[in-house]
């Protein structure tokens, strides 16, 4: 029914309605994509400010600015907001903007549901943030919400659970929409193995989402009933087991980390061929590698919990299975490098971010391999080494890919070229400060500094200060990003349809800015 409505509109209005109503009631994939991207940018700054509170407190040992309970609330909220509010919505926003244009579809398959899945987000985000002002403070048991600690959360507890439910619901609806779009709306001739890699990685990500977000919803529902309705899923007194929560959580949690990185792989696989002016090396191996990573993500979850007292056989299984993931990931990295090999490369801002992604994500992958070694993990577990690892894959991985994507497609969205000089400034400031920020955390972790504490032993001071300097520099550099986007939206050199000399794909055949309705008539794909 929803499809009928949009097509109906498509025939009668070429221009969107004006004012607030346009954004509230829009079913247009480009509008919804924009909304998602703006939402995630706002959340990036909200979560970023929380990170700066954390880094400010860790400038010196001892308690300086915030009390430990609030510090713990900051680490918890920072994690939840960055994962569910910034990174995931940003990729859904990119999917909304790009997937229909890349496969030659007029819109998403279910435009009204699309509107709904976006508009849940601001409410869920507001609900989560409102806990900061509640009796007992915001949730402070870590974003992983382990019981029994999380059950001690004050009035914020049900708000935490329901906002996770809502955020999950939004992602599931987004994922269903993306699968339906990709499977049913491709232009004639666009076979699965001709789809751009961004579309492929999102198809697989969407399947991961509908497979694991409901499991998270179940896990937090069990927490809720344990606290308020007398069940004892995780309560030993009633025959439950708190470790079971960790198993269920990480059964969701590990695929979740690939949900946040697979679309990034897709973005990088679009950008590198453009600026290397060569087709992607090993297209089909990229597709199969993505699918293998997705499959393996379901059988490695317990590597997050090597220290809970697993039998040797379990430790070994999860260790080897985890290391196996390095094989398809390695295939991808080699393919990107082989694409660049002897290419006529130029280094515009998207390419700079993409190259930085390949290098820095690989560093994060290597520290992941170190963590996968079960006997060594007993030393690294819950230390700053883990913090360094997942920030390398999520910040210089996922977030850098999002930056690269925004610079790459911004001319297509706005019709103007962004300021290349400022874009390069943003890149160099970011890439230097992000390493100043996270690289020392490897040393801190190996030296024994645990994560999630407001205080630390005095010998960790110097590297913490370096890290804090990096954090503020990285945070402030992002203001430049906002300025570049703002400037580009307001005006600038007119962008051509193809924008980049080496760009290939259907989205580059429509004019820039992309008209409100594209591919009302399906293009022919040879």
């Amino acid at each position: 029914m929803s499809t009928a409505t949009t097509t109906h509109e498509a025939h009668h209005h070429d221009e969107p309605p004006r004012g607030l109503k346009r954004w509230l009631f829009t079913t247009n994939h480009k509008d919804i994509g924009t909304l998602y991207l703006i939402f995630s940018l706002v959340m990036l700054f909200v979560g970023g400010i929380m990170a700066l509170v954390i880094r400010a407190e860790l400038w010196e040992p001892g308690i300086q600015y915030v009390d430990p309970q609030f510090f713990n609330a900051m680490t918890t909220m920072h994690g939840l907001i960055m994962v569910f509010g910034a990174i995931m919505p940003a990729f859904v926003g990119l999917a909304n903007w790009l997937i229909p244009m890349m496969i030659g579809a007029p819109d998403m398959a279910l435009p009204r549901m699309n509107n709904w899945s976006f508009w849940i987000l601001p409410f869920a985000g507001a609900m989560l943030l409102s806990t900061l002002f509640m009796e007992g403070g915001a949730p402070a048991a870590g974003w992983t919400m382990y019981p029994p600690l999380v059950l001690q959360t004050g009035e914020a507890f049900p708000f935490l659970i329901f906002s996770v439910h809502l955020l999950g619901l939004s992602s599931i609806m987004g994922a269903i929409n993306i699968i339906a779009t990709i499977l049913n709306m491709r232009a004639p001739g666009m076979t699965l193995m001709k789809m751009p890699l961004f579309v492929w990685t999102w198809l697989i990500t969407a399947y991961l989402l509908i497979a694991v977000m409901p499991v998270l919803a179940g896990a937090v529902t069990m927490l809720l009933t344990d606290k308020y309705f007398g069940t004892s899923f995780f309560d030993a007194a009633g025959g439950g087991d708190p470790v079971m929560f960790q198993h269920i959580f990480w059964f969701f949690g590990h695929p979740e980390v690939y949900i946040m990185i697979l679309p990034a792989f897709g973005v990088i696989s679009q950008i590198i061929p453009t600026f290397a002016r060569k087709p992607l090396f090993g297209y089909s191996s990229m597709v199969y590698a993505t699918a293998s990573i997705a499959f393996l993500s379901f059988i490695v979850w317990a590597h997050h919990m090597f220290t809970v007292g697993m039998p040797l056989a379990g430790e070994l299984f999860f260790m080897y299975a985890t290391m196996l993931i390095a094989v398809p990931t390695g295939v991808k990295v080699f393919n990107w490098v082989a694409t660049m090999w002897r290419g006529a490369m130029t280094f515009e801002t998207p390419m700079l971010f993409a190259v930085a992604f390949v290098i820095l994500f690989t560093i994060g992958g290597f520290s992941g391999l170190m963590l996968a070694i079960a006997p060594a993990d007993f030393q690294y577990h819950d230390s700053y080494f883990v913090v360094a690892h997942f920030h390398y894959v999520l910040v210089t991985g996922a977030l850098f890919a999002i930056f690269a994507a925004v610079y790459y497609w911004l001319p297509k969205w706005t019709g103007h070229m962004y300021d290349e000089r400022l874009g390069k400034w943003h890149f160099w400031l970011s890439v230097i400060s992000v390493n100043v920020l996270y690289f020392p955390q490897h040393f801190l972790g190996l030296a024994g500094m645990p994560r999630r504490y407001a205080d630390y032993a005095i010998q960790f001071t110097e590297w913490n200060q370096v890290s804090t300097i990096g954090a503020f520099a990285f945070g402030l550099s992002q203001l430049l990003f906002v300025y570049v986007i703002w400037k580009c939206v307001r005006g600038g050199q007119k962008a051509t349809a193809q924008v980049w000399e080496g760009a290939k794909g259907l989205e580059w055949t429509v004019p820039s800015p992309a008209p409100y309705h594209t591919f009302a008539e399906a293009p022919e794909v040879k």
Binding site: M1, T3, A4, T7, A109, L110, I172, A175, I176, I179, A180, L183, N184, M185, I210, A211, V212, M213, P214, V215, L216, A217, G218, A219, M222, G230, S232, F233, A236, A237, G238, G239, D241, V243, M244, H247, I248, F251, F252, G309, M310, P311, G314
Partner: protein, 193 residues
């Protein structure tokens, strides 16, 4: 023009139905992990989980293996801040596999109102859990204590001679849970109305 669009609509509807079904099934799977996990731990004896079914623990033709001597450590703890205490009368004992033994604990209510507590056992090392057989245990029942009441409780157990040879020390730990704090949840509380 309308025909292919109607077809697309139908295809979308079919696909969405299937995907929603998968979502619902995965929500159920999250819950199904709970019994699956328990069954898995019970079969493999992981995680220190012990069999709470007394019928399964009756000695049937178990012979005492006097060639082997094991150390047994008894530990018990009350929840922080609770007005109950528990301690083993003898925290350490030595025994042979297959030998039926009794361990006693002293349970005390330190408050002026009645309490209901329950002890939950756990065995270390985890692999020994399947081999510690409790014939009778105070942990099978809720313990109701009157104001300031002191009570001696016991567990009757033996260690299965099948216990892996490398295990020389077995720890049996009880954690007490105050069921009153969970009043109205697990037990009906007669003392409260």
């Amino acid at each position: 023009m309308t025909d292919p669009r109607a077809q697309a609509r139908e295809a979308n509807r079919r696909l969405v139905r299937r995907l929603v079904l998968v979502t619902a099934a995965m929500f159920g799977f999250g819950f199904a992990l709970v019994p699956l996990y328990d069954v898995f731990c019970e079969i493999t004896g992981l995680n220190g989980k012990v069999d709470l079914d007394p019928a399964a623990a009756l000695p049937a033709g178990v012979r005492v293996d006097t060639a082997r001597t094991l150390r047994m450590e008894l530990v018990a703890q009350a929840p922080a801040g609770a007005a109950v205490s528990i301690r083993p009368l003898r925290p350490k004992l030595t025994l042979h596999p297959g030998e039926l033994r009794v361990a006693r604990f002293e349970l005390r209510n330190l408050a002026d109102r009645p309490v209901i507590v329950r002890a939950v056992p756990s065995v270390a090392p985890g692999l020994a859990a399947a081999h510690l057989r409790k014939v009778q245990c105070f942990c099978f029942d809720e313990q109701r204590l009157g104001p300031r009441e002191r009570r001696e409780v016991a567990v009757v157990f033996y260690i299965d001679p099948e216990l892996p040879a490398e295990v020389r020390t077995v720890s049996l730990s009880y954690t007490l849970f105050d069921l009153r704090q969970r009043a109205g949840r697990v037990v009906a509380d007669p003392g409260r109305g």
